[in-house]
Amino acid sequence: MNTVIHSYTRLKNEGLWHNKNLCAAASENKELVKTLDELYKEMVLEYPKFYKMDSLCKAGILCAEPLLKNTDTNPSFDKQKIALVFSNKNASLQTDCAYEHTRNTFPSPSLFVYTLPNIVIGEVAIKHKITGENIFFIEPSFNAQLLYHYAEILLQENDLVLCAWLHITDNALDGFFYTVMKEPIDTEKKSTFIQHKAENIHKLYMQ
């Protein structure tokens, strides 16, 4: 089975890129929390729920949008056969700390529900109505090998796998999302895709 990387997005402090093209640029000297709201406005998402999310979920919604937009309008996608494979280092630590601060006064239920890393998977699934496989791996740093192997396994029974690394801290936005699928039979399209290999995934992340 030949598999290919269909498309990818990269989130950094400076903005969001989709396949090397800048989607939205962040203005300098802004707090990172505000940067995510700024990128959201630039991308004209019109998804007001965005504002109630924590930073991890906001970043996930932004990174996933350019990759999954076409699955919303194209009825040929079976939403049960799209898998979401996420990873990061901190799990939900930022929101864990925020919730912990509210605990001595009034523990906030709206913060508590975000104290799980996989909530971002749920938010992406809700936005794009994806009901397929989900998993959240915790790794000390971006692990192309792990994502590669697991996506290969999932593609035996699924059509599309969205792989994600989403490391959000108080001073760094580091997101890398990409979609993997079986190589299309259409030979014209073939050349436009990158072969799905761990080394290619790693190269794209390092760009």
Binding site: P109, F112, N118, I119, G122, H128, I135, I138
Partner: protein, 373 residues
């Protein structure tokens, strides 16, 4: 294709320090859930592991200094070590993997810092790494944190890695401990019951939290009494991040995928005893044509042990198949879901050949596994 079989197992919980002790307690209808009301918090019930007993057992079974490990780590080390000892598995073999599953790991370190435990152990990977080093694994651990399906999902990943010949043997440990962080959170959601929980019952009023570590050895060898992990899937409701889908869509889709020619002999449900979870499960089982299958929840015995639950409950399913038992859904009296379920009311002898284990969690996630003997 290679198949994945469950071999040895261990459960460290208020009901015992190995699988046999736990299974015997459950068969006798003993619950670990007790009244832990304190002045600072409202009345609540939970299943807590006695710290003195844990430390004494830790010192008798390992050479590790208990000061250098958190409760979650000590329980994990004890649980995995028992499986390593009884199975004689080679932990240094490059074809052996350690998978660590937890929902909140050492989150209590946010509040209770320890002079002996480095601050970086708040990171789930560092927790797993400390446990993995203490056990002597050579490969890096694989860490999964996916809310309340973490444990079952860890088993699913292990099954897939074995079937695809990435490893020969995988040790899967799931753990979570009680903490004020988790208790206050579930309390803020009004999800805690003020009595021992009653899964699927008409008068159910919420969950009890619990703590446990549980370990399974999964490998490709078929032995006598090996239980095969035949099919397993995860899904998302794509509906709500903290409420189960009213139509049970995600769970239904998983059940549809694993349905085989034969109806399973029993289902071990997630059954947290919240109004909405149990109702969602009843709807999903009914949509999948499984409403007549004997069903039980083990939450009244252990409380909800979060990242450990899927492993604990899978082990009890495996033992039920091996020892030809049908375990009662403790806490259930009256039908309490819109679709009547065939809830198991008395523990009894029954030979079964297959069962389904389900789990659901925040973030809209679901996981289902089919075990056969």
């Amino acid at each position: 294709m290679t198949s994945a079989y469950i071999q040895h197992s261990n459960i460290i919980s208020p009901l015992g320090f190995n699988t046999a002790e736990n299974f015997t307690s459950v068969c006798q209808g003993i619950s670990g859930v007790k009244d832990y009301s304190s002045s600072s918090q409202k009345k609540y019930y939970a299943a807590a592991l006695n710290n003195t007993l844990l430390d004494a057992f830790f010192c008798s079974q390992t050479k590790c200094n208990p000061l250098y490990y958190t409760r979650a780590e000590k329980m994990s080390i004890l649980s995995a070590q028992d499986v390593i000892n009884t199975s004689n598995i080679e932990v240094s073999n490059p074809r052996t993997l350690f998978i660590f599953s937890t929902t909140k790991g050492n989150v209590e370190l946010l509040e209770n810092k320890s002079a002996y435990i480095p601050e970086n152990r708040i990171y789930l990977y560092e927790t797993a790494h400390a446990v993995s080093l203490a056990l002597g694994f050579k490969n890096k651990p694989l860490v999964i944190s996916n809310a309340c399906i973490s444990g079952l999902l860890a088993l699913i990943v292990a099954k897939r890695l074995i079937e695809n010949n990435q490893y020969d043997s995988i040790i899967i440990t799931g753990v979570d401990v009680l903490s004020d962080f988790i208790l206050s959170g579930f309390n803020s959601l009004n999800a805690l019951s003020t009595e021992a929980c009653k899964p699927f019952d008409k008068d159910r009023s919420g969950i009890n939290l619990g703590e446990a570590a549980a370990t399974v050895l999964l490998s490709k060898e078929r032995k006598e009494k090996s239980v095969r992990m035949e099919a397993a899937y995860s899904s998302n409701d794509a509906n709500h991040i903290s409420g189960p889908s009213r139509t049970g869509e995600g769970l239904y889709q998983c059940l549809q995928k694993i349905q085989t020619k034969n109806t399973p002999d029993f289902i071990n449900a997630h059954g947290t005893a919240t109004i909405y979870n149990d109702e969602m499960e009843a709807v999903a089982f009914s949509r999948a044509g499984l409403q007549g299958v004997p069903v039980a929840s083990f939450k009244n015995y252990y409380g909800h042990t979060l990242g450990a639950a899927g492993v604990v409950e899978s082990i009890l399913c495996v033992e039920s198949l091996r020892q030809e038992k049908m375990i009662a859904s403790k806490g259930f009296e009256k039908q309490g879901t819109s679709v009547a379920l065939n809830v198991i009311q008395n523990t009894h002898h029954k030979k079964s050949t297959s069962c389904i284990k389900t789990a659901s969690g925040f973030g809209g996630c679901n996981a289902v596994a089919l075990y056969t003997i």
